[in-house]
């Protein structure tokens, strides 16, 4: 057995079959389409759900990787690309363009879209909106407000999957209670 064998330890361990994940996500999108009917509404809902996931996911990420504070947007983007995607989705991402306020990330493969093909009438559907929401939600928890969108999507005919992140502002930690 190669030492790089996927860490499938008995009892499930830390990694699970990506097909379960892919199929579950697909079932979710299907159900959202049934409930909400319009692809634009589904995009919004996926984004919102992604945000909720991101808010929780960031704690798990920080705990498992023992990452210290990311000092700025650049560090955060690099950490997401190099560690984050591998840890959660099992795929790696490469940062193609980065400066202090913007960055573009390319994913080598995307388990969310493994068996997926978008029919003509669902072209406006942004199938991976969830990922954008996750990144936004996660960075919000570490005091960075960012915008994230899918700039290239293989489901729509592009050759690779590319995310575009843009820093809006840093949010300072403020005392939440009124002084009384």
């Amino acid at each position: 057995m190669s030492s790089k064998a996927k860490g499938a330890s008995p009892g499930g361990g830390d990694r699970i079959n990506s097909e379960l994940f892919t199929l579950t996500y697909g079932a979710l999108v299907r159900h959202l389409l049934l409930d909400l009917e319009s692809p634009e509404e589904v995009n919004k809902q996926l984004d919102k759900m992604g945000q909720n996931i991101g808010i929780r996911l960031v704690d798990d990420f920080l705990a498992k990787t023992n990452t210290g504070r990311c000092r700025n947007f650049r560090e955060a983007a690099k950490t997401i690309a190099e560690t984050g995607f591998r840890m959660f989705l099992g795929c790696s991402a490469k940062v193609t363009q980065i400066d202090d306020k913007e960055c573009k990330m390319v994913l080598s493969e995307n388990p969310l879209t493994d068996f997926v093909e978008l029919p003509e009438k669902l072209q406006p559907l942004s199938y991976c909106s969830l990922l954008c929401g996750v990144i936004r939600g996660a960075l919000e928890q570490i005091s960075m407000k960012v915008e994230c969108e899918i700039s290239k999507d293989p489901l729509k005919g592009d050759e690779r999957f590319e995310l575009h992140m843009r820093l809006v502002e840093y949010v300072n930690e403020e005392y939440p209670f009124k002084d009384d």
């Binding site: 929780r56 798990d60 023992n66 990452t67 928890q141």
Partner: protein, 154 residues
């Protein structure tokens, strides 16, 4: 070693969880109610962190006390010891603050605090679909595992 109590706060000051194992002095004699007690504790953590940042001798740019700390700067304390108890503090980058009060005769509990954060909070609260983010939680599994873990510390 005795563990007195533990608080978990989120970045907005909401006390997500409070556990008590031994609290000889009644809350009523201190802050008054548990809610006020939690608020006072959060205020202490927040102010102490700002003071630490302000008097940091290694920092080149001095910031006035009271000005909000820009992102990426600031330092956090890990524990303080008084005549009667020792307070251990973990501040995660996502704003989750874990406070554990123990008796004085204890060394550094940094690693253990991290275990509480990663193996207990992250596993049983964060991953629990029935938990609403940002609100106080009641989770049997978490409490059981926490009690077991704290018993091993002593």
């Amino acid at each position: 070693m005795v563990c007195f109590n533990m608080y978990i706060f989120n970045r907005n000051g909401v006390c997500l969880h409070y556990s008590e194992w031994s609290r000889p002095k009644n809350v009523k004699d201190g802050a008054g109610t548990l809610v006020d007690d939690a608020k006072m504790m959060f205020g202490l953590l927040f102010s102490l962190k700002n003071v630490c940042t302000a008097i940091d001798p290694t920092r080149e740019v001095k910031r006035p006390l009271g000005a909000p700390t820009p992102h990426g700067e600031g330092c956090s304390f890990r524990s303080f010891t008084t005549d009667c108890y020792k307070l251990h503090y973990l501040d995660s980058p996502s704003g989750i603050k874990i406070v554990l009060n123990t008796s004085k005769d204890v060394g550094s509990l940094e690693k253990q605090m991290w275990v509480i954060y990663s193996s207990l909070y992250c596993e049983y609260i964060v991953k629990n679909p029935l938990y609403t983010v940002g609100e106080p939680f009641e989770c049997e599994q978490f409490v059981q595992k926490l009690n077991k873990f704290v018993a091993t510390l002593g």
